[in-house]
């Protein structure tokens, strides 16, 4: 083919960063971006935080910058979801039956929020996954009344933090005995629960939700398994996501809770097709496991990997970045690196640096570092990520964190 064309299905962070990485590496061919949403690309982490609070508007979270589509020389096909894939003809089929041919295809269709359904299958909770969700929830919270967040995960916790900041009486309901414990383990889960309670968010843990019954006035009643009923002006479901991979059914591409791909993010069952971000389940080389990770940094790093692999077929890079995510709740920055298992040994350390207490949880198995969580110490987390990447011991990690704490630094902020 005379002109090379990369088609990117998905216009969220993974898709946009792929296009940017291709251009940064000097790719001169065509880029076509297919987006199910009709709005220009935007960044999702602020939806549960600054965008929900009203501090940010859409222009603050736009991903393309002032140059727009021209800045990445990409052709957008917006509001036109990909509905099927023809791997033999190397074509993506859109909802209006238009066929878009590709030399390389990057699947970055992301995931959508699970929600709570009534017995008839109708949603009875709001979610926060796209900009319309966030606008609707902001509007609902602004009318006043209590907010009930179902699910003690990070997105739900961020919504609770923001709702509380906006003045709403806010409750988190979590079925597990300790919120956040599925991801962070019980010790750090308890610390985060206390953080919410100290900031006027009520935490009800170890209790499931039996039903959510909407009332005629737009409010709802949340019936818990212990017989309690909570009145809610807004019910928010923070109960996980479902990968947007249905459009690939029947294409020959392997899908098992995510699109199966190898360590280069190359998809099994189709030539020149890659998958990245929340929709991808990729082979993690060190363990041989197939993993699907729903973090922003994973999507961005995989975008760089795939852009490189498209342009350097003979020098492919395996994707093996340290799992990392952050969350901001009640003014505290929570950062995590690694893989936490329920059997990890956990040590909690507090370091006094620049007149503030910095907490770090060091997770290990047989003395070997498996993960770290930092609360309010970004520099400590940068070190933890390096320690994790070089497979340090927990003892080395603690010793180096102590040294770091003794050598505090402050960046120089030069007025623009």
């Amino acid at each position: 083919m005379a002109t090379d064309r990369v088609v990117i299905a998905g216009t969220s962070i993974a898709g946009v960063r792929t296009a940017q990485a291709l251009r940064a590496e000097g790719y001169q061919g065509e880029i076509v971006m297919i987006g199910a949403e009709s709005v220009d690309p935007y960044d999702k982490p602020p939806l549960s935080k600054q965008f929900l609070s009203g501090e940010n508007d859409f222009s603050d979270i736009a991903l393309l910058g002032s140059a727009g589509w021209a800045g990445i020389e990409a052709v957008p096909l917006l509001g036109r979801a990909a509905t099927s894939l023809d791997v033999a003809r190397k074509e993506v089929v859109l909802a209006d039956n238009e066929r878009v041919s590709y030399n390389h295809l990057v699947i970055a269709t992301g995931a959508r929020a699970r929600t709570l359904l009534d017995p008839n299958g109708s949603p009875v909770a709001q979610t926060i996954r796209d900009v319309q969700d966030a606008v609707a929830l902001r509007e609902r919270i602004s009318r006043g009344g209590p907010v009930v967040v179902v699910g003690g995960g990070f997105v739900g916790a961020e919504v609770a933090s923001t709702a509380s900041q906006l003045g709403a009486a806010t409750t988190i309901v979590e079925a597990m005995p300790v919120p956040f414990s599925r991801v962070l383990g019980p010790q750090v889960g308890e610390i985060l629960s206390a953080l919410h309670q100290d900031n006027a968010v009520k935490v009800i843990a170890g209790v499931g939700v039996d039903s959510v019954v909407p009332g005629a006035d737009g409010t709802s009643r949340v019936h818990l398994a212990n017989g309690t009923t909570l009145e809610a002006a807004a019910v928010v479901a923070g109960i996980g996501v479902i990968p947007n991979s249905e459009w690939l059914e029947g294409s020959g591409v392997a899908v098992r809770d995510g699109v199966i791909c190898d360590e280069y993010c190359a998809v099994d069952g189709a030539a020149d097709v890659y998958a990245i971000g929340d929709v991808a389940r990729w082979r993690h080389l060190p363990t041989g496991e197939y993993r699907r990770v729903e973090h922003w940094t994973n999507a961005v790093d995989q975008a760089s990997t795939v852009a490189h692999n498209i342009l350097h077929a003979s020098e492919k890079k395996a994707y093996a970045a340290a799992p990392y995510f952050w969350s901001d709740q009640h003014g505290t920055k929570i950062q995590m690196v690694g893989d936490i298992s329920p059997t990890d040994h956990v040590e909690l350390h507090t370091f006094r640096v620049l007149a503030a207490d910095r907490r770090i949880a060091v997770y290990s198995q047989n003395g070997r570092l498996t993960a770290g969580v930092a609360l309010g110490w970004p520099r400590g987390m940068v070190l933890m990520r390096k320690l994790w990447e070089r497979n340090a011991s927990a003892a080395e990690a603690v010793a180096e964190l102590e040294m770091l704490a003794h050598n505090a630094v402050r960046a120089r902020v030069v007025p623009a």
């Binding site: 990485a21 940064a24 940094t297 790093d301 975008a303 920055k333 970004p378 630094v409 960046a411």
Partner: protein
């Protein structure tokens, strides 16, 4: 190329320092420190990836002389 940083807007996510520790670090309160602002040709792919990895877009790669 060279790196420019809007340090005051940094949120300390640390992705830049994780990807490209030759050019970036963060301080204890989570503000970026550009260790060296010049980017050599062989460093460009990594530095550009680090710039793209900033969740709050405070980093930029500029042509020399700008």
């Amino acid at each position: 190329m060279r790196i420019a940083a809007n340090v005051g807007a940094c949120q300390g996510y640390g992705n830049c320092a994780a990807l490209d520790p030759h050019h970036f670090d963060v301080d204890d309160d989570g503000l970026v420190i550009v260790l060296r602002d010049s980017v050599l040709d062989g460093e460009l792919e990594t530095a550009a990836a680090a710039v793209r990895s900033c969740p709050v877009a405070v980093l930029e790669l500029l042509e020399d002389g700008n």
